[in-house]
Amino acid sequence: MIAAAIYAVVQKDLLYAVIATGIISLILSIVFYILQAPDVALTEAAIGVALTTIVFIITIRNTVRMEDESDKNKNIKSAAK
Amino acid sequence: MLTLILVIFLGGAILTWLGRKINPLLGDLLFLVSVILPATMFVMNIKVGDTIAQHTLLGIDLVWGLSPLAHLFSLVVVGLGVMLSIYSISYMRGKEKVGMYYFSFILSIMAMLGILVSRDWISFFIFWEIMTWSSYLMVILNGKKVQSIGIKYFVFSALGAYSMLMALVIINSQLGSFMLSDTFNNFQHLSPANQILIPVLLLVAFGVKSAVMPLHIWAPDAYSNSPMGYTAVFSGALSKMGVYGLVLVIISMTTQLPAGSLIRIIVAWLGGFTAAAATLWAITQDDGKKLLAWSSIGQLGYIVTGVAIGTPLAMLAAMFLVVVHALFKGSLFMAVGAIEKQTGTTDFKEVNGLIRKMPVTFISSLLSIIALAGIPPLAGFVSKWMLYEALIQNHNYLLVVLLFFASTAAFLYAYKFLHGYFLGQEEPEWAHVKEAPMSMTIPMLLLALTTFVLGTWPQLLFNSIDSAMQYLGYDATNGKLWTDSVLFSQWGDKVALQPVLYAIIAVFLFFAIFLYFKGRKATRYVTTKDISTSGEIPKEWENLTFKVNFMQPFERAIEPFLKRQIEKYYLGFGKGMEALFDFTRRIYTGNGQTYAIYAIVFLALLLIFRVSLFG
């Protein structure tokens, strides 16, 4: 889980980062289950894994995929001019 | 009754403001009514007494009463207020923001009376602040350099007011009472540190309003920038509220203090310096308003010195000067106002030879300026003489020298003023100028004549001053101090003084009439060449007058002194503060991430220092 978290933070490609957060949630929900919290596990699985990830992905689609957007940034600015 | 009077003032102010919006004439009428009606009620009905009205707000008793001392000051306020309200009607005709002028005028009269009747610090402070902001509205009414002059005035006022506020909450916490009398009676019960702190804070508070030296820099601009009809109130009555406070503090507090004499000497010297420096500044002014403004500061310096010395004679002198200064300075400001109204300018360089155009203005100015300069037959002389004598009795010879110097120098500006406006070249440009309307000249003349009367028969005032001084703890004198003074004891026994005075007055009157007719006959038109001196090419406005650089040699002599303006230090301080503030606000970088880091840093700091915080 920690590895996934670090990956999510370090990864430049936001799509992968988001999927990594989804994986965190997935592991988390399993851990919840182990910790005798099935309700929370179910919720985390549904919200954390599915919904949050999807909303993130849609946002990324609507905006920009790479964290390091320097070249694209230039392109857009020049295009705007 | 007292409450009713104050409420009439307040309601009158608002009604006038509204009335002015409806119809100018209605506004004028309401203005007169709402100044004169309550003022009359005040004079007729409010007698000296301890508790005339009492209210309770927020569990604090607001007690209103009238002490003999306050009674003396209230006469000045009411008299000046009524005179100037009549004057203002004509003066303000055709100007902008008349409604606001009326509003502030009435409010400040109300506030001053309120200060005088306050027997507790809270109402004192409330009225003090109302006075401050109503006069602030006046200062910026003309809309000239509003930001610099107005803010300067307000900042200094706030400095004073907040010093007072701080002093009074400390008093309350130590003595458990906001009453003035409790403060003075139980002053000994304060801790030694507070015994020093409180008088000093209060001295700052009142020093600001009475324009004592390091705190004076708001005054010249504020005086000269407010409408003339109000400047008379400003300099004549409003600044006297500072003096009123100083009297209370110095007499009732510092006398109970071991270090009190030191404080008083310092204040006395500050007053002396103020008198001297302000006089020098007045000399160099080329504008009647500014000249009078500086002159007012100088006169206040005399008063402060007198109060600070605090011997009976000095006190008598100061109190006397309080009254007559209000009279003659009021008259002079009115005169300048009349000139401004009639010619549109108050610059010596532009206005000349009005003596024939505005004779009444000239006569009242003459009387007042003589009083101002302290020439014997008129009122200014009486007070100055007493002050010198008091200082000599007190062995403050250096201070006498300083004040004497100031007083002598005052001749220079007095002459400059008189000459600048009324004498000299009559110019075609001003040919159309008429005497100001009656409603302006009559108050002016009345004040000047009162000055004259008081100068001749100072005993008229001594009774009031005497009861005021008894209230402050001085022995009853019944005006003996004056008749006992050196002036009388040296030759008073031998020569009947009155005839001498009359003779002098006669000479002066003759001189005045002579000047008047001379001015009428010997109108001499000067050409440019007459005044062009070697190497200096005269500018256009220099053409026809020799008043420009009137005092040039003198100015050059005092230049090094003038250069060291205190104002510059204040400005530097202000600039420095603003730069600091600007630097500080860069904490808010605009980057959300930085803010988040601040939050975490704050958390970490609290966690690290939690032991020292919570044990």
Partner: protein
């Protein structure tokens, strides 16, 4: 440089947090040992069985003991839908201008169509049985929303009526609030149970708990679908991707 400082900073904060929590200990009874301390969880566990006849203690807490929290929580979701709508609102509304994540193949579309009913059913099951087994309104609602999500992704022109969503949402919310107020009328306190509790482990047990949870389920489903729908309809001015 900044990174190092931040890491140091985080180390400080982390140290204190870890210190605290490790001090508290894992897996043991961490409450302060004192006669005065009676953890409310024990009361909850006891009352769940005895008075409410609800098997799932979490459900009984969420819906009954701390039902007020849940009302607030539902409101938060409701608000975030409203907020989303307000934040992303634009005057020119391009209908059908939905952003496309991927063009779905026919297998996906067919599969989605096939999966959609079971997902809905599963969701309904989960929230109806919320008081008996793990799960409940939230979980069921989320599952239903996932079903709609699937359809939205699979079919480019699949639309959900905004009005229908808000009607469902509003009715569910109103049901919750009205049941609360009915408790207020009947029992004197808001959200008080006023129905017979039935027997433990029975579908119709727990008084108002199942009703509220069903309402919550509908509401959550509608709201989450609303969230997805709103975001999905937001076609950003992207130039790449």
């Amino acid at each position: 440089m900044k990174k190092v400082l931040v890491i140091l900073l985080l180390a400080v904060v982390g140290f204190y947090l870890a210190d605290v929590f490790i001090g508290i200990g894992f897996g043991n009874d961490h409450f302060v040992k004192s006669d005065e301390i009676k953890p409310v969880k024990d009361i909850y566990l006891q009352q769940t069985v005895e008075n409410l006849k609800v098997s799932n203690a979490v459900t009984s807490i969420v819906v009954n003991f701390r039902g007020f929290d849940t009302l607030g929580e539902v409101t938060v979701l409701f608000l975030s839908v409203t907020a989303l709508g307000s934040i992303l609102y634009r005057k020119r509304h391009h209908a059908g201008d939905r952003s496309v994540l991927f063009s779905a193949s026919s297998i996906v579309t067919a599969g989605s169509k096939l999966l959609f009913p079971p997902i809905l059913l599963l969701g309904a099951y989960v929230f109806i049985h919320g008081h008996l087994s793990p799960g409940g309104g939230f979980q069921g609602g989320v599952i239903i929303a996932t079903g709609f999500l699937l359809m939205l992704l699979a079919y480019e022109n699949y639309t959900v009526s905004h009005n229908a969503l808000s009607i469902v949402e509003s009715f569910a919310g109103i049901t919750f609030a009205v049941i609360g107020l009915m408790g207020f009328m009947n029992g004197g306190t808001f959200l008080q149970n006023f129905l017979p509790v039935g027997t433990l482990n029975d579908l119709f047990s727990g008084g108002i708990i199942p009703i509220i949870y069903i309402a919550v389920g509908f509401k959550v489903a509608a709201e989450l679908t609303g969230v997805i729908y709103t975001v999905l309809n937001e076609k950003g001015d992207q130039k790449n991707g």
